[in-house]
Structures are given as structure tokens and as C-alpha cells.
Symmetry: C2
Subunit: 191 residues, 2 copies
């Protein structure tokens, strides 16, 4: 039991990993723990828009663990242009350590979910990526483009970086975002 | 699609519902969104300690939605002695409104999960309650009894209020907590 307790207390650190998007109607930057909760519910709500068979319980399980590696690396804005491979290696080392705190069978289950998300090859992982990438866009669209403006993000960067994973995982969601992003550009929320 | 987007943006408000427990090594009070994420992972990690067959995916799904009613009522410390029925009625009205933003089938699925948790009659709901009730105790044990001390909580209150649901849902977890709580009392973290 103590190893499970140690594990869940280690997870507490994800509440202190801040992202670039602020909580709506708040000055506080959201953290990766509450973000993980929100996208799990976004993904399961999007179930009717899946275009291939998806085990939604596995999507949710993946989303709950996918950011845990940030406990050691911190969050990196998706528009960063370099350093991804090194960060992913650091995140893998981090989750290997943290999931390794659990009894072997459960630790391996969580590590498999984390790796499945990273590989983005299964239908579940693609769907999970769509929810993960879409969420900060949805918050920005509701927030006058807050994190785009704070970080000087261009419309084309969003289209290039968010478009493919969202379109591959949930085409209807990209159709929705594409038109909203055009509006955001007109409003000057995106450079 | 817009109704799902409106739903997930409404959920953002749970990030602003603060609880009585602080994030470890931080002055910030945790919120109910990140708490929901943490207990979903606590519950799934505790799977080997389930004493009856439990569909862990449903436990996780329940834990992700169980606090959403607090968007309108706020969080109430578990040791409050009155007002529970009225608050639960308010929470039910709140989740009925929020889950009603989704297409009928999905909204009903989430409402059923919320009601199942509240009724605490299925093995899954009992297991979910054990994780939910145990988590602030685990944080307090790691935090010199922070929320107990701030709220003048007595050892007997914890035993009376946390003991039964944790014992019913996950007896091994209560065995663990019981001995740790005795130690917490000796240290003066509980009145």
C-alpha cells in the first residue's frame, strides 16, 4: 500500500506544472493536472464524432497519464520548434521512474498507455491527441486568444501544428476549429 | 459540436472551486478539477486491493464527474455537520443543467454516473468513494495535517466520517490509514 501512496503523492507535483493557457475568467495559468481532467471529459463527450471504432475508456486512461512526464520537464508550448526529442526522452525517463513506483503489473500498464499515446498509432491514441491539442485552442477562442497573444503565435502555426493531429483523430472537430480560427485571425487574436 | 464545446468550457469553472487541502509544497489550495484527476489515478492504482469485482473504467468515469455539481455550490469540507441534503439537491440541479448541455445520450450517461456515485450502492461507487475520501487524508498525512489543523478537525471526526466509506470500498486502504491516523494524533496534527 505504501508504494501506491508514494505514487499518488508524487503525482501531486503535476498540479504545479503550469501551462501557457489561463483558467477562464481567472489570471491563473492552468496546470497539467486539471488540464488532463478536462480533456478526458472532452474526449469522452466527443465519442459520437469518432470516425473509427474507439475504446473510449482507453482514451480516457491515456489522457490521465499522458502529461505525467512533465513533472520533471515542465510544460512546453506546442509551437516550440526545437528540443522535442530531448524533452520526450526526459519525459520517458520521468514516467519510467514514477510508474516504476507501482507494483510491476500496474506500472507497466500505465507505461504502456503513455507509450501508446506518444506513438500516436492506434485509433485511441489519435483520438486522445485530438482532444489534447484542441483544448487550448478552445480556451483561446473563449479567452480572446490569450495564450496566442502572450506568445505571439501566428494563425499559420496553429493550422500547421494543431490541424493534422486534430484532423486525424477527430475530423469534425477540426472542421469546427478551422472556421473559428479564421474568425480569430480576423479579430487579431492571432498574428 | 458547439454544444460539446460549450459543455467543456462550462467545466472550466471546476478549476476555480477550491478545496480545503493545499497542493503539497505549495500555498495554493487544490481545486476540484485537479483533485478529480488525482483520485481517478489513485483508484485505478488501488485495483489489486478491491475485495469484489470492480469495473475500474466505470470507477474512473464516475470520479471524473462526481464533483461537477460543485461548480454552483462550491466544495464543502467533509466534516460539515449540516446542510448536506440541501447541497446535494443543489448539486443535482447543477449537474442536470450542465450534463443537459450535451446530446441526450451522453448527458444521460454522465448523469447516471453522477447518480451512481451519490447512491454509493454499487461496488464501483463504493470503491470510488474510498478513493475520494482517502485522498485528502493522504495529503494531510504528507502535509503535517494542514487542513485538519486549519479547520480544527479531531481524530474521532476523521475516524467517524472517513472510516466507513473507505473501509466499505477498500478495506486494505482503511487498515493503512487507521494506523497512520493514530500516528497523526500522536504528533498533534489532529485535535
Amino acid at each position: 500500500m505504501q508504494n501506491i501512496v508514494d505514487f499518488v503523492l508524487e503525482l501531486d507535483k503535476l498540479k504545479q506544472v503550469t501551462r501557457k493557457t489561463r483558467v477562464l475568467n481567472s489570471d491563473r495559468y492552468e496546470n497539467s493536472a486539471e488540464h488532463s481532467w478536462q480533456i478526458a471529459l472532452l474526449a469522452s463527450s466527443l465519442a459520437p464524432y469518432a470516425v473509427e471504432a474507439v475504446d473510449m475508456d482507453r482514451v480516457v486512461a491515456m489522457l490521465l497519464v499522458h502529461d505525467i512526464g512533465e513533472i520533471e520537464t515542465g510544460d512546453t508550448i506546442v509551437y516550440a520548434e526545437s528540443g522535442w526529442e530531448e524533452r520526450k526522452a526526459q519525459e520517458l525517463a520521468c514516467v519510467t521512474r514514477i510508474f516504476g513506483m507501482l507494483p510491476a503489473e500496474q506500472g507497466q500498464r500505465l507505461l504502456a498507455l503513455w507509450n501508446e499515446f506518444e506513438a500516436a498509432e492506434t485509433a485511441e491514441a489519435r483520438f486522445a491527441h485530438a482532444a489534447d491539442r484542441a483544448m487550448p485552442v478552445l480556451l483561446n477562442l473563449a479567452n480572446n486568444g490569450q495564450s496566442w497573444r502572450e506568445n505571439g503565435i501566428r494563425h499559420q502555426q496553429v493550422v500547421d501544428r494543431i490541424g493534422p493531429p486534430v484532423r486525424h483523430g477527430c475530423p469534425a472537430l477540426w472542421d469546427y476549429l478551422e472556421s473559428r480560427l479564421a474568425m480569430a485571425k480576423e479579430k487579431g487574436w492571432l498574428a
